[in-house]
Symmetry: D2
Subunit: 382 residues, 4 copies
């Protein structure tokens, strides 16, 4: 059983990932992990902080001389400017000058429900943890899982389909392999899966336009996994269905409001004969399909086709353009302040989506092929 | 901690729901539960079986003299025609005539991945459990939760937005209360939230048309909860976020391929200022919003507004119109057989969606409000 | 992941066991299971009820034509005299004549803390579930696990070491194989592991003497497993240590107050050189030990030697000889009534101990060896 | 739901504790926590390392300005001499000179089963995690829980009953309050609950004698909790019984081989009338008992009396006096090496026992009185 949690506050000492149940003797690729960290920080339209912080992972436990020990893996992504925040964020007791207390909850954030739930008088006690900076821990743990999967031939990737009203033309995608789409996305500043300067420009203009208006933007991205074996997940109990687990993992990413598997909502509009993937067989390939409307999962079980997940991200709730809100102390209305300055984080969220999908698939893999060590897993898997 | 599982095969002795952690001394409303069972079985376009089986719940444990005991609740929905299936489905050993073995997996079902995962030579070993009949257990347990919630002022309901290409006009919904929409849905054969014979007719025609062509249809439905208190779920860990839990619960329903919370995919298209719900305050109402684009959840925590979830159901994979598949024994191609005859089960799925939402909310409620007994819960809740 | 729960009240419709995650295609041995049920009901000094109820297991789900389906297994042990209890125990609402309410909590039972926790005015709401009759469900599920294990060469058994002041002489045990000890226990009315009429007589006299005095007796029993592979459990996290899991499972049995693994408390008295099992190696046997003071577990991991667990059972809290207590309604003192009439249930508890050990080992086995189906498990295990 | 895990290797960067679900707004007492850390390191007969390392806790997350945030708490106990171990323990890849590989498993440790389970060629990969140094993390998290409990009037403590053959005379304990016993233990170098220089001397002599012979010693200790409310834990499911959870938590401590609750094994020898605690009532005290043979738990539920747990620790497996073992590489026999030099760690284990008991009680408390914040918990509790 894979256990995965994160800890840490946005401006605290760091963000941490706890990963337990990962096979022993896995050779950790430190560069791969740090590259993944960097991928989360890229993207046209990110604000200033992304430049300050070059996230790197330090292993605090569970890895020795380059290999996993089978014991709990604790990863740290230290916050480089913690020193500047120490007065406000330190664990040690201390009085905060009243003006440093945040009493103004931002619409669209955990701020207000969080403060009411926990009985805080300082919104910072909520926003520090609800911040999307937490996803650094997800990407760190996800990187380890992605690396494990790719050594077994399972590739996890992502690309962006739309940002605000800018859309990738569907015909530019059709017929292309996930490999190609992914490579294009890797070379795009907005993670779109087409190598077309004009389309790229449309996306950038959309972002620039929003920025000019003090607006923020959301978008839609795809996360996929190829090379997935048949039989992960199970139809036998509601909480063992892999589609449900994926939906939870993706929906749990900050600002995600919708998740689709395969055709998703499109499947609700089409007649059955247009939706279900017919089954074929040949001696070389075994059972196979010519379509993948199911997105790789039938009855909660992987069917050997690529897993395809689509996610909708709402615009970042922090705007230059203010929204009305109410001070929790004075109960006076105000216009909501800006805590952070990204216009659009969809490409970053897509990378986080990869991490979460990789974690869920790894967990399902280790339930089907329990493996104390990586060699064992490798052996069982083939 | 609420534990909920189902057991049972579609043509076995029955479907069973196991519910543990439910408060003691809750007065069970048997009629309410059986009405919920009936609601799952209604809907224009259901096949023959719905008429045979009038599902009723028998409590096997956990309830005494009308009240819950705090001990595990086991509910049975006996299959009335088990006798006719005994030869094929009995637990006792026995040779099945080869012709009674199902070797033909249906596209769109768990059939093929299930058979490959578990190493079966009879598809029935999978389809009996992956069948949507399992949702009878979900509705049974969900009914208990719904009943608990409504006594605390939390109403859970659902309605259908579209079936195939038939859509409820958005303007017919706008401005209406959930109460009204729900009441309309209750009076509609296709669970649409408008009392408009013309629209109703469009839906029925859509279903009739599909039936005539040997097709099946999916659709989109809304599940909602009103009266939800602030503070269910938490932003502090990915798997404590209520939106993630809801997404898993809804996506785990058979044939669901998409889940949205609040605006969902629409939120990805709009600028931030059109998406985030501004915050207001008055002495009578406390904090409140004038919009609910968030669907009642911000940062993984309920914000006091109604929870609104949208789900996309694919067409039932069993068609009269055959799809190509391959016999698992002979490896010969064939055209997929019909195991069951519903054209459209969207209204039923919406009722199942209510059950799953009610279970998730109840679980979150019991994590926030201590309640060994219902009186205690009631007291604390107010 | 193996999930195991029970449901059901002592005089309700039945006792039920829910077992999920058990491999598919396992050929269920119905006779074996029912023999296990009978073993739980045997033992010198049991009261009248054991004669009424010949427990038999009915599979409600998860088994088809003699083989497991991989889906949740629900087992029922129906209560044969439920009809006589229906008025008092039925789930349907109904007024109970005040004199049928139990208001007198028995010392040593869950009665009083249970009533206070849940706010009941009828002790029966607690005692029906806390009763040791619940262990019928444990034995049912445990039998399935025991059967799986023995087909992999892992034998789980038990024997009694003492009842009250009657003790099996240690020298009668030393040097004997678990097989022989177990066979002796199977032929003894008090489950002692020696075939010595005199010792048997001592035990019976102890029980008879207690009965005459209106007393009840506890005792000490051993549960063991032979043929256990190296590597179940893990040292890497506190809750993955197999010794901890075993301790929980055994301590959770009604009336158990002490658990030892290997030497147990004896290990606390001896110097290190007398406690730790030296390690040897030969080509035929691989690594092995000449002693087993560790009871088969080092650092929370099985070491290939037999698992040996000792448990202490307190006397059954229901006595003919009354104990002082207080009526929960009137707050008047009284002398505690007799609900049930066993003098000694140590042999039965030992059989329950086997079930719990078998369940814990099976769970650990399935975490180490992937096994969607029994064939797969068998293959991997060797 | 309280989640508690540790991470870290004995000579790695540090030992870490992850604690999630702890109420918000709890004022952390840093001195208290560090005093608890120091208590774990005391005790007559500890080896050299205890002097090097003065463990102190650093909060990496979850605490701000002296108060908990409700978000995951990550605590670090840095290893002060990691620099000296860096070559051997660093996470970064590197070749270890063959002579630095540990190939000699010590009897009584996880060494051999661990190496076989995970397929390691270096025993250090196991022993670094199985080491009792891990308990620093348990004590850190336990200290937070102990502090929470004592503010609610629940005191958790421990004392030693025996070390090797040295025993505290029972008559020296009888009739004394837990408070007094605990205070005595705090002032004793061997944690015995009596203030008697002669007895203290006997214990020290026992330890000195063992040391002279190259031996190690185990012992028996008591962990207790007073002020526990009625109703923690539940009789309704085997894994909800508090006694089972306590047994797991205590048995999971390194080197523990036996756990008793209340009378424990003694209860197996006595007749029922001598075991069960009679129930009394007065208006001032409510229900109460004059005896506490049950150790505070009946039917898996706390009954309001002190929880009393006894644990048996085997001698530390590392001896100066060598034991026979086998090199895992050469398969040659050898006499087992000394990794660490404590003669007796029973007093330290008792402090760890306090931590584990405090964690289990806190978890049960938060299941009965779920509380987002400490104020809420305080309110509910009274």
């Amino acid at each position: 059983m894979l256990r995965f949690y994160t800890a840490g506050e946005s401006h605290g000492k760091g963000i941490f990932a706890y990963l337990e149940g990962f096979p022993a003797n896995f050779p950790v690729d430190f560069d791969f992990i740090n590259r993944e960290m960097a991928r989360r920080q890229k993207g046209y339209g990110r604000g200033g902080r992304m430049k300050i912080e070059k996230d790197r992972v330090e292993f605090l436990s569970g890895v020795r001389l380059g290999k996993t020990l089978g014991s709990p893996i604790l990863m740290a992504v230290w916050n480089r400017d913690y020193k500047n925040w120490e007065e406000v964020m330190r664990p040690e007791p201390g009085q905060l000058p009243p003006e440093k207390k945040v009493t103004r909850p931002r619409p669209g954030h955990a701020d207000l429900p969080g403060v009411l739930k926990y009985g805080f008088d300082d919104v910072r006690n909520v926003l520090e943890r609800s911040s999307a900076r937490e996803t650094a821990g997800r990407v760190a743990a996800g990187a380890l899982c992605k690396d494990l999967l790719r050594r077994l031939g399972i590739e996890v990737g992502s690309f962006v389909l739309s940002i605000g009203s800018a859309q990738v033309p569907m015909e530019a995608i059709e017929g292309k392999s996930f490999k190609e789409l992914f490579e294009n996305a890797e070379n795009s500043q907005v993670r779109i899966p087409v190598s077309d300067p004009e389309v790229e420009e449309t996306f950038k203009r959309e972002i620039d336009g929003a920025k000019a208006k003090g607006e923020s933007l959301g978008g839609v991205f795809v996360v996929f996994a190829t090379g997935v074996p048949v039989g992960l997940g199970s139809h036998t109990q509601w909480d063992k269905r892999l589609d449900g687990r994926i939906a939870q993992a993706i929906m749990s990413i900050q600002a995600i409001k919708g998740v689709e598997i395969g055709l998703g909502f499109e499947a609700a509009r089409l007649p059955g004969s247009k939706v279900h993937d017919e089954i074929f067989y040949s001696q070389e390939r075994g059972f196979y399909r010519l379509t993948n409307n199911a997105g790789g999962i039938e009855g909660g079980i992987t069917n050997g086709e690529p897993i395809v997940v689509k996610a909708a991200m709402k615009p970042i709730p922090t705007l230059y353009k203010p929204l009305r809100s109410v001070d929790i102390k004075t109960k006076e209305p105000f216009e909501a302040s800006v805590e952070r300055s990204d216009v659009c984080a969809v490409p970053a969220a897509a990378v986080v989506g990869e991490a979460m999908l990789a974690i869920v698939i790894t967990a399902a893999l280790l339930e089907r092929y329990p493996a104390d060590s990586f060699e064992e897993l490798r052996l069982l898997f083939y």
